[in-house]
């Protein structure tokens, strides 16, 4: 705040009259720009410009070598909507996001609670929970891919030794099973962030609220659903929105573990987009898919915010 006053005085010094002149008023009005400017530039360069570029590309005719051959209007979009695989891929993406986010949120509510409790070695456990977050997602996915390998995977070894199965199972070759395993990996890498947001949320709840509840004779169950959960709403909101966006756009897990195959049986919109560009050599159609993807995520986040009445949180 001090800086603002200083700046305002400097601007005033250059004005001739003591009464606020037009120049000074403009100066005052523009002052916030100095502070907002950098972030506005940042948003324009890293967010708005790529979006504009993406939309522009989706309207172009681009040859397989990468040369722009001119305008194509909505042709890329009609091509995209003609793909037989589009609808299953979109439905799968929605299922993938819902499954991963819901599981992650439920588990992280429990983990957050655990991390908030006092017990010996809590610091160690907190660090351990961060590990999947610190490790590269690609690395985690590759490790799981090899753990689930048909020939040398440790999962098969353990199950064989326990006599739960009598011959190795090719886990990632069957679309449904592969999808479930990949969702598990996605939950695994999403948990740390979500748990820590929940933990932060738990720590903002004042102790006296709980005290009051105790005095009123509320049991642990009542306390949790009557106090903790409602007060955690902002934290849950933030964690799940960021989680939705991350999971929706998650490329490395699926790409490393199944490559979206066999066929398109485990593709989500993100891997499908990649295949359109680099297998089908159709950059324009891929950009159209990217625009559709972008709109889908926008709609999903808006619907979610509306459903959870975020305006109340902001006030």
């Amino acid at each position: 705040m001090q800086d603002v006053k200083l700046r305002a005085r400097d601007a005033g010094a250059s004005a001739p009259a003591p009464r606020p002149s037009a120049l000074r008023r403009i100066g005052l009005a523009l002052t916030p720009l100095l502070w907002l400017g950098p972030s506005l530039v940042l948003i324009a360069v890293v967010v708005l410009w790529p979006v504009a570029e993406m939309v522009r590309t989706s309207l172009l005719k681009i040859s397989s070598s990468g040369v722009t051959l001119g305008d194509r209007g909505g042709g890329n979009y009609t091509d995209l909507f003609d793909e037989d695989d589009l609808v299953p891929v979109v439905l799968r993406t929605v299922g993938w996001v819902a499954g991963v986010v819901i599981t992650t949120m439920v588990l992280s509510l429990a983990i957050g609670q655990l991390l908030n409790a006092r017990f010996p070695g809590r610091r160690l456990v907190r660090w351990a929970v961060i590990v999947p977050w610190a490790a590269s997602v690609l690395m985690t996915s590759l490790i799981w891919k090899w753990m689930l390998d048909n020939y040398s995977g440790v999962v098969n070894r353990v199950l064989l030794d326990l006599h739960l199965i009598d011959k190795p199972e090719n886990w990632l070759a069957h679309p449904r099973g592969a999808m479930l395993w990949m969702m598990w990996v996605a939950v695994f890498v999403s948990l740390p962030f979500a748990s820590f947001v929940i933990l932060a949320g738990l720590q903002t709840i004042p102790e006296d609220v709980y005290e009051a509840a105790r005095v009123d004779g509320a049991g642990p169950f009542r306390t949790y659903f009557g106090i903790t959960l409602p007060l955690l709403r902002p934290a849950i909101l933030i964690a799940s929105i960021i989680n939705v966006i991350n999971v929706f756009n998650s490329f490395p897990i699926i790409w490393a573990m199944t490559g979206g195959g066999p066929g398109h049986a485990t593709d989500t919109t993100t891997t499908f987009m990649y295949k359109l560009a680099f297998y089908d050599q159709n950059v324009g159609e891929s950009a159209a898919m990217a625009v559709v993807n972008f709109l889908m995520i926008l709609v999903m986040v808006l619907l979610y915010l509306r459903a959870s009445r975020w305006r109340e949180e902001v006030r």
Binding site: P38, W49, S63, S64, Y151, T258, P262, F278, N282
Partner: protein, 416 residues
């Protein structure tokens, strides 16, 4: 104070981003305007690739003072994305090492071969490869390395199953696979995963009179011979004679299993010994035989070729430096050194003589004259191959072979 610092950081960051962002769109190239510095993008074939090029470029720069070559190594998994970005942002290298060239030729991006190598080099290319490097009757691609495919079989497993010779017909393949399977191993290793489904399928289809195009050069992917081939492979799978789930198995998995002595038969190339078998078991007893055919009379080999392509830049100012560099690489000793290091086959007559001294390599060199290639001269081939990689494998799992091939045919006709 702290806020000040963050503000300054944000401003600095956004300026930096803005500057680098603007740089992306412009078509300026670094230092190439004098025409003596060229950029060469090379693919990584193995750990030997970079040291080879580093050495060769050093040698070249020493012998041609004033000329400079900037080397960029790109992994095959990233190559397609990189190349598209180069072209889109008008930052093409002067020389590119790639597996396709015809769409560059169609879009007028690259020189004709005769413009960038000396007549001596041009006439040293083996005619088979010159043919493959043509677009619309003109040679654009410069054959770089080649490879051929033959049938590998495990002699120990064959001995145990009481089989004497490698199979010559498809019926024998099936019978041998059954015998090997009875011994507890996998009969035939069938990789129809996205890595190289097109190569595996064509290796079978060409030996049944099938292929990608008809004699008139039009796409004929769903022709009866191909459906028949795919049905045969599907039957092998359904009878449990292959490894489980060929539709998700890549070539490297099959060859790791072969090297461990767990697979009786699999189709491999010259690189299979050095890259897969030797690291696992140098004493593995295996034989190499021609690819089996349905009738057993004629045995074709799958040929594969990678190319160098020289891009037009600065109104042709880079042509002289590019030619100097390419002529230098195509000297007999330099080419042969690369091929022996990487386990590939020659594309020039002079290097072929050097390589035939190795008996293992000789089998492949000898197979080259009967080899058939994918239609790489057709600019649509890359997208057809892409469609094959994505969906062909599903035909041995859930989908019907005919339907899968019909759909690929449709993609091919749409692509041109």
């Amino acid at each position: 104070m702290k806020r000040h610092l963050i503000g300054a950081l944000a401003a600095g960051l956004s300026v930096a981003l803005g500057v680098s962002g603007c740089g992306k769109g412009s078509s300026s190239d670094d230092g190439g305007s004098d025409g003596k510095t060229i950029k060469f993008v090379a693919a990584i074939y193995s750990d030997n690739t970079k040291p080879f090029w580093d050495g060769l470029i050093k040698d070249f720069e020493a012998k041609n003072s004033g000329y400079k070559v900037q080397l960029e190594m790109v992994d095959w998994t990233q190559m397609d994305a990189k190349v598209k970005t180069y072209v889109q942002t008008k930052q093409v290298p002067d020389v590119l090492n790639y597996n396709a060239f015809s769409d560059f030729a169609r879009d007028g991006l690259i020189y004709k071969a005769s413009e960038v190598v000396s007549p001596a080099v041009l006439s040293d290319f083996t005619p088979t490869f010159t043919e493959q490097a043509k677009y619309n009757g003109e040679q654009y691609g410069l054959p770089f390395i080649s490879s051929a495919r033959l049938m590998f079989y495990n002699k120990a497993l064959f001995g145990k199953a009481g089989i004497k010779d490698a199979p010559k017909t498809w019926d024998e393949v099936k019978a041998d696979a059954e015998k090997v399977k009875r011994g507890g191993a996998i009969g035939y290793g069938l990789p129809l995963g996205p890595e190289e489904a097109q190569a595996e399928f064509y290796s079978w289809a060409m030996n049944n009179g099938g292929g990608w195009v008809n004699p008139a050069g039009k796409w004929a992917i769903n022709q009866p011979a191909n459906v028949d081939t795919l049905t045969f492979l599907r039957n092998l799978t359904k009878s449990g004679l292959t490894q489980p789930n060929p539709e998700t198995t890549d070539r490297k998995t099959v060859f790791n299993q072969f090297a461990q002595g767990k697979i009786g038969l699999a189709i491999g190339g010259p690189f299979t010994k050095a890259s897969f078998i030797d690291p696992v078991n140098k004493s593995l007893e295996f034989g190499v035989a021609p690819l089996p055919s349905k009738s057993g009379t004629e045995h074709n080999t799958l040929g594969v070729m990678d190319v160098l392509a020289a891009f037009k830049k600065n109104d042709g100012k880079n042509k002289e430096a590019v030619q100097k560099f390419l002529d230098f690489f195509y000297q007999k000793d330099n080419t042969a050194k690369f091929l022996t290091k990487e386990g590939f086959l020659p594309v020039t007559k002079s290097a072929g003589d050097v390589l035939s001294s190795d008996p293992y390599m000789k089998q492949f060199v000898d197979a080259l004259p009967t080899s058939k290639f994918a239609p790489t001269g057709n600019p649509a081939w890359t997208s057809v191959a892409g469609a094959v990689k994505q969906s062909l494998g599903t035909s041995v799992a859930g989908s019907e072979p005919k339907k899968v091939l019909d759909k690929i045919q449709e993609t091919a006709e749409k692509a041109g």
